[in-house]
């Protein structure tokens, strides 16, 4: 049974709209979300946490003149719908008027979604605890056979969302997702791998387990290298987690508020010639709905073209202020942030990961990064650690594991120093949302300290 259907969404909207009109308010927007997800978690070679949850959400936004506010509930019965509407109206009436606030968009103003991406896989939605447990059991066996201990997750789920407003807009999206990640831990080393897809069938837990186990084996007895500037080969998850930190700044509102690193900057040639980045909700390896927080259709943007920052995402409000068209990246109103690109696609290169490693005379191979935080908001200096598979490359091959480094690296500088890239893949880490990214070889990467393992 699907989590939400069009008719039910329309019925909830009609009910909410009647309640609003009874209170003298005509303009409302509702967002309905529903999710059913399950996650099988394992550690020390056993399943130790195994969970499932289902929830729904109704969020009502009222608009009265130049005022707007929102009330949200996870109860979608008659009384709760009415109470959410009343609460939204009560909040709206006391909000400060915002001269820049726009009427809700009509279907025409929200734009047409070219080809709605198909991101639903029925077998993933129907995945059972037994299926996940058996896949986990096989993965545990592979890592144990390599004399390591394993921990990880296998998650499957589906979600549905709908956005309707009183000017006739009706958006609907549903999708499934699957994630498998695994860490193999040996006496003094570890390895990690992760896969993420719309369909559980597109993920190979056994292959990921072999990869994690291999990394743990190959990085055993790690040696300590001095911190300093090194050429690094960052696997896609490491690229995603680091480069993924900068995209909140690709926002017309953030630039206007002067908190974006793009503020007042010469955007021509900001990055290297080989850096091309799009925001593309329709990319086959991407996820998420093709409309934004007001229901505006997402447009494909060329954020960076051959190193030059080109397109900037606009919400309806920031677009009106700038006299341009909204791009479909606005966040749910009201908010302070404006807009953000969430479907990042970093164009890849023509090398394979093996070729990239082979081209490095002396450098560091990084599987994964951890606990990345912003040190400097304008230069985008990020600090963080390497983790779960860090190797010295000498003469074009990984020769041994090394103790993990702390880095303090400007992402602006890093994207000027990319010397090679693999093909882009759907990358999944833990520090930024999934994106499509290649592995990157980066020169002069700044490691500042080394830890004890």
């Amino acid at each position: 049974m699907s989590l939400l259907c069009h008719d039910e969404c329309q019925r909830i909207f009609d009910q909410a709209h009647r309640a609003a009109r009874a209170a003298g308010v005509d303009d409302i927007e509702i967002y309905i979300g529903a999710n059913a997800t399950a996650l099988t978690r394992f550690a020390n070679n056993v399943i130790h946490q195994n969970v499932a949850e289902r929830d729904r959400m109704l969020s009502v936004r009222a608009l009265i003149g130049q005022r707007t506010a929102r009330a949200t509930t996870n109860r979608i019965d008659d009384d709760s719908i009415r109470r959410a509407v009343e609460q939204a109206i009560t909040l709206t009436r006391v909000a400060e008027p915002d001269p820049a606030l726009l009427p809700m968009p009509t279907a025409g103003e929200a734009g047409e979604i070219p080809v709605a991406p198909s991101r639903f896989d029925a077998s993933t939605a129907a995945a059972t605890p037994e299926q996940r447990a058996l896949a986990v059991k096989e993965a545990i066996g592979i890592v144990e056979a390599a004399s390591a201990t394993t921990a990880g997750i296998f998650e499957t789920g589906e979600e549905a969302e709908a956005l309707l407003n009183s000017r006739g807009l009706f958006r609907f999206h549903t999708e499934t997702s699957a994630r498998f990640s695994i860490t193999a831990t040996a006496r003094d080393s570890s390895g990690w791998a992760k896969g993420s897809a719309v369909s559980a069938g597109a993920i190979d837990p056994a292959a990921l387990a072999r990869s994690a186990a291999d990394k743990a084996r190959l990085s055993a007895v790690p040696r300590e290298l001095p911190p300093g500037r090194y050429t690094v080969v960052l696997e896609p998850a490491a690229v995603l987690d680091l480069v993924g930190q900068i995209f909140a700044d690709f926002s017309a509102t953030a630039i206007l508020d002067q908190r974006s690193f793009l503020t007042g900057r010469d955007l021509a040639g900001l990055f290297g010639e080989n850096v091309v980045i799009h925001d593309d909700a329709y990319h086959p390896l991407q996820a998420g709905a093709p409309f934004d927080g007001e229901g505006v259709a997402r447009r494909k943007l060329r954020l960076v073209d051959r190193g030059t920052v080109e397109d900037i995402p606009y919400s309806r409000a920031s677009a009106r202020r700038a006299g341009v068209a909204a791009t479909g990246h606005g966040l749910a109103l009201p908010n302070e942030t404006g807009e953000m690109p969430t479907n990042i696609v970093i164009a890849g290169g023509s090398s394979t990961l093996d070729e990239m490693i082979a081209a490095v005379d002396r450098g560091i191979l990084v599987t994964r990064l951890w606990y990345i935080r912003e040190v400097d908001p304008f230069e985008k200096i990020m600090t963080g650690m390497t983790r779960d598979g860090t190797f010295l490359i000498e003469g074009g091959r990984p020769v041994h594991g090394i103790r993990n480094f702390r880095f303090n690296q400007s992402v602006v500088e890093m994207l000027r120093n990319v010397v090679a890239m693999s093909a882009a893949v759907r990358a999944s880490g833990e520090e930024a949302f999934d994106l499509v990214a290649p592995a990157m070889t980066v020169a002069n990467f700044n490691f500042t300290e080394v830890t004890r393992f």
Binding site: T40, A43, D55, E96, P129, D257, Q258
Partner: protein, 506 residues
């Protein structure tokens, strides 16, 4: 079934009693549904959570919303293995389906099990408890709350160098009824309040920011609206605006090895990352190896490791006697009472945070009450309660009494490795200390170190008068990720030979 919105002690006694009956009825129905399926243990949490969030930006209302969420989470042991299911469907059918699902999940867990789950014994508890709350934040009008935020916003922007002003308030109230197959019935209501503001100044090629009373949302405690009054937010706006602008004229914080003094809010985050997380026994035992990481604090270090210098004393204390922290409660989310644990005594490492499942591993007869879940839909995990460093004997003047050092205030960035050895923090502002006094202001300060070396270099801790129980509302852990509030009491402290300035090192 609809649960009436709870407003804690501000409801009539009749309404409260009626709500309890409804929530207890749901919880017991779910428990019965689980027990009927042959589980060896089950517990159920039914929760109703309410939130109000307000914010302003440059004189305009920013976020303005309210939300509520109600649901039930069922945890069971079947065939010696765990299963958990959470549902928003509180009808008899929905609860029965959730029980069925939890049991099926537990049976699947048993497919990859080695030994049956064993829990340390716990007693049956019955309790009704509400956290202290003098002024119900939900009864204060939104107009009044917004007016205060807008007045602060306006005050910040009176300084022409401020390019962005932001303010925020956030209030939550969560009522939870916990029942278990041990016979416990525990009804807890917790109210939290949070408030703060930020002044940003962009100039040339630098973005500087100052926050009050802390960064990332301000102060957050287990209190009512009285917290907002206590913070005297508006009084601090002119100074914070001035400092944000002045940072552009300040010198870059130098690199070097120097005495470091940190303010109590920064020390609270230092405690969180380098004491609080390492003592979580589930990390130590490998449960978080794939995500949040493990801990250098392996079980052989209990009572043998010199964690800090002799003057360092730390506790994990969930009891109300410790203060109104985000880690304060009467019972944890598996029905164990709130307790105080000595974590570091006179510098010696003495205790972990544990659960009923992990306590026996380190020889504890029972859990020390640290299992907490981020809402009804999530499984309880070992989480920090209020992990605090106890105050020392020193006045502030004595803490600052160095020939040359660096004093840092208010966190800007934080990072630590996945075993909690190597950390690096950045702060919003610093001053060079010369002969015990603040000298020049410094911008972009950072410091770094190794956990035990750092705590062993602690040479002065300020006294109780300077001690604050800070709230960290955004601690992430677990898969699926759970965001939890934790408390950390700290007073300003001084450390020897700390590496300064590495964040901007070339």
């Amino acid at each position: 079934m609809v649960i009436p919105a709870s407003s804690g002690q501000f409801e009539s006694a009749n309404t409260r009693a009626r709500t309890l009956v409804v929530m207890k009825d749901i919880a017991l129905r779910a428990l019965d549904a689980a027990l009927a399926r042959g589980v060896s243990y089950a517990d159920v949490r039914v929760e109703h959570a309410r939130e109000r969030a307000l914010g302003t930006k440059n004189g305009q209302t920013g976020r303005l919303g309210s939300s509520e969420s109600t649901g039930a989470g069922l945890r069971v042991i079947v065939d010696g293995a765990w299963g958990f299911a959470a549902t928003d469907d509180l009808s008899p059918t929905g609860l029965s389906a959730a029980a069925e699902q939890a049991v099926a999940i537990a049976r699947a867990s048993a497919l990859a099990a080695r030994a049956p789950v064993l829990l340390a014994p716990e007693e049956k508890h019955e309790c009704v408890w509400e956290s202290p709350c003098t002024t119900d934040p939900f009864s204060v009008s939104i107009e009044e709350q917004l007016a205060l935020l807008l007045a602060i916003d306006s005050e910040l922007r009176r300084n022409p160098g401020v390019t962005l002003a932001e303010t925020n308030m956030n209030f939550t109230r969560t009522r939870q009824v916990f029942v278990s197959s041990l016979g416990s019935v525990i009804d807890q209501t917790r109210t939290t309040s949070q408030a703060g503001f930020e002044a940003w100044a962009f100039k040339g090629s630098e973005i500087q920011k100052r926050s009050y009373p802390n960064s990332f949302g301000g102060q957050c405690q287990l209190k009512g609206y009285e917290l907002v009054h206590e913070l005297a937010l508006a009084d601090h706006a002119p100074r914070i605006a001035e400092e944000a602008v002045a940072l552009h004229s300040a010198d870059q914080c130098p690199e070097g090895t120097l005495p470091l003094i940190v303010d109590s809010s920064q020390l609270a985050l230092q405690i969180h990352e380098s004491i609080g997380h390492p003592i979580e026994l589930d990390r130590v035992l490998g449960s978080e190896a794939n995500y949040a990481g493990m801990s250098f604090l392996t079980v052989d270090k209990l009572n043998t490791l010199r964690y800090g210098s002799d003057i360092v004393n730390a506790v994990a204390d969930a009891r109300l006697e410790h203060g109104p922290g985000l880690g304060t409660f009467m019972f944890d989310d598996e029905g164990s009472p709130a307790q105080r644990i000595d974590v570091i005594r006179d510098g010696q490492f003495t205790g972990y945070l544990a659960s009923r499942e992990t306590a026996p591993v380190i020889g504890l007869a029972r859990s020390n009450g640290a299992m907490r879940a981020a809402g009804w839909s999530r499984l309880p995990l070992i989480r920090m309660t209020n992990v605090s460093v106890l105050p020392g004997p020193h006045t502030l003047d004595e803490v600052f009494d160095v020939d040359r050092g660096i004093y840092m205030e208010t966190n800007r960035s934080w990072s630590i490795d996945d075993k909690r050895f190597n950390f690096q923090f950045g702060c919003e502002i610093a001053w060079e200390i010369r002969d015990g006094r603040r000298a020049r202001m410094l911008r972009n300060p950072t410091y770094s170190g190794i956990t035990t070396e750092f705590w062993n270099s602690c040479e002065r801790i300020a006294n109780r008068e300077n001690w604050t129980l800070w709230g960290v509302p955004n601690c992430g852990k677990g898969q699926p990720e759970q965001v939890m509030g934790t408390g950390h009491g700290a007073s300003p402290a001084r450390f020897r030979n700390v590496r300064i300035g590495g964040g901007y090192g070339k």
